[in-house]
């Protein structure tokens, strides 16, 4: 498996950040015809506003079986599915790459419609359920590497993009610091408990030794008798 010499693999790792998620908007009322209450949009897009078509062949969205044509394939951006519905479900998203020999990336995404925030419940604000992720190309093939490196920034709405990027950057820093703090805390406790465990173990050994020395003189008496 690792000795793929037919295609030369470039020993680098290329990271392409993406964003995927869904927005959901409540109608305000339940639609009588099919009971749908929300309009939602499921999407996958590049974080940096890249031209993903260079390395992505197509994206396949698998929706719930009750949807007609629940397997929807999109060959060009925007990779979005707009639909309406009444319930949340898990979708399967498959990304196929420009290199047909490369295995597609499959992941699951839970479509979120409901929220507890009053604005969203009423329908004034749409719900945004978005995740930042990264496509990691590890030792991509020659073809794919060239394809990836040839992308250019799309000149569309870079302003908006920059705002989003900044927001994510802030979030990243925030999360990292939090995680680091939590790790410190946990590690301190681990340290503490480890010491106590060693201590307790030693005490146990000590007590056992003492009880043995206490038992043995009385034992002798009984045996002799």
């Amino acid at each position: 498996m690792s000795t793929i010499t037919s295609e030369s693999r470039i020993p680098v790792t290329i990271v392409k950040p993406i964003v995927y998620g869904n927005t959901a908007q409540h109608f305000g009322s339940k639609r009588d015809s099919d009971g749908h209450t929300h309009k939602w949009k499921l999407y996958v897009r590049s974080f940096n506003n890249d031209d993903m078509t260079k390395y992505i062949n197509r994206i396949q969205f698998r929706l719930h079986e009750t949807y007609p044509n629940n397997v929807r394939v999109l060959n060009q951006p925007p990779y979005e599915i707009e639909e309406s519905g009444w319930g949340e479900f898990e979708t399967q998203i498959t990304i196929f790459f420009a290199d047909p020999c490369e295995k597609p990336v499959v992941f699951y995404f839970h479509l979120k419609l409901f929220s507890t925030e009053p604005d969203i419940v009423v329908g004034r604000k749409p719900l945004v359920n978005e995740y930042y992720d990264e496509l990691v190309f590890q030792e991509p093939s020659d073809l794919l590497a060239r394809a990836i490196n040839s992308t250019q920034l799309l000149p569309i709405s870079t302003e908006e993009n920059r705002a989003i990027e900044q927001e994510y950057a802030k979030r990243k820093i925030y999360t990292v610091t939090r995680i680091k703090r939590a790790r410190e805390r946990v590690r301190h406790e681990i340290q503490d408990l480890t010491e106590r465990l060693c201590l307790t173990q030693q005490s146990i050994k000590h007590v056992r030794q003492r009880s043995i020395t206490l038992i043995s003189p009385t034992n002798d008496n009984i045996i002799r008798d």
Binding site: L135, P140, S141, K180, A182, E189, I190, D192, S211
Partner: protein
Amino acid sequence: MANADVLDILSDTIPTTSRGAANKDEIIREKKKGPKKSIRRPEGMKREVWSLIAQDDRESVPIVPTDTKSGGNSYARWIKHSAMKVRSWQWTPFTNSARGPNDTFVLYHWQHKTNPDDPPQEYPFAKFNKHVDVPTYTDNEYEQYLQDKEWNRNETDVLFELCRKFELKFLIIHDRWNNILYPDRSVEDLKDRYYTICTTLEYARTKRHTDKYNFDAAHERRRKEQLNKLLSRTKAEEEEELYLMNELKRIENERKERERIISQDVQKFVQQQDQNIPTTNNCIQRTVSSSSRRSSINQDYLQRLNSSSNRTSTTQRITTCDPPVGIKFPEFKRPGVFLRSQRMILPSSIPNKKLAVIDQVLKQCQLERNPMACEEIVDEFNDLRSDIILLFDLKNALNSAEYELQTSLHRLKSENGSTNMGMSSTQSSGAGINSSNEPSKTQFDFLLSQPSTPNENITSPRLSDSFEPTNIVRTSTTERKRRALSSQTSTIKKRERPS
């Protein structure tokens, strides 16, 4: 003429010997000689039997091998004897010398006829009439050595008389003991008196100690009492004992399990600890300073621990050992594309309890379950979750270790309490031991009273405190079980409880 012709015709077939022998005697002699055979018929065997076995043309005869038990030829001997006459038996009177010299009791039995000049035989069973040698003491000896405050001379004499009469069968002696004339004595009392007198006499006469008359009256009394109690157990008591034995076995097994787990975990955690070396040093300093608030005794424990862990850390750095990671996350080594968040997926092997714990801790630290998937975050997040699981395991191990310590201490205390009474006689010799008992006892008391509460100002709410106790250890021990655990002394002591 005709006779001669017949004879001529028959001459070929007629045996020549009989040709001329018309003598009646010769014929008889021939018959008597019998047909010549290579093997003679053994004497005593009937002719018909022999003819069944024997074969004319054969040298040997297949005879069943004779019985060689009686040194060869029992058959021959029997033959010889059967030709002999029967020994005569005589209805003779006899006396038993074992009955005593003045005995005139005469019995009769059959005996082989003996020559009248032979001396009369002793009754062969008289030699089994053995007697016990009960020592006798003179008045001087009694006054010198054998005085006792509970026995007077009279009683002692009576006792010895009974011993002689009943051949030291103490049960009979005890039965015959006259408890109206003399104070009531048990079997042990009588035996005790007898054996002490014997030993004293022996020593007085030979000036040498012997081990012939070792008798421990107290032990005997206890032994008989125990046997009586054993015999008279009620059904309920017996069941209770069985139940307690099973409980003890079970508890011992659990204890061994716990010990195994604890020792494993300690290894694991000590190793884990050594991996985080830069943070370790800070932590050690911090905990040393905090422990200064604890008693001084604990501090040298900690120092010893630190030194030992430092020692082990150096050795372990040399020997390459894999650190036991809390969780093993999926890794992507193969070339291919994958999504960063896939590295954050928890493996399915983690039990639900641990998942719940992870969620709990994340909530406490105000972290979301799936943060944004950058490289740095993913790494840190995975490590964090690993550490959480480690902490959880550690907490469990610590709980079971503490429980173990509690039970050991309880056991020690009960033994200490029971043996302290027995040790009162050896106080003088054990003075040194006692003085060293005290600090260790206070140490253990300290440990007992403060099982697991460190100082509160380390981290205000501890993450691990919110973990539920999920050990195999049973925290609900009934009083009886505790006693079964701690009192592993002899059964007598246990028996005293219900009685």
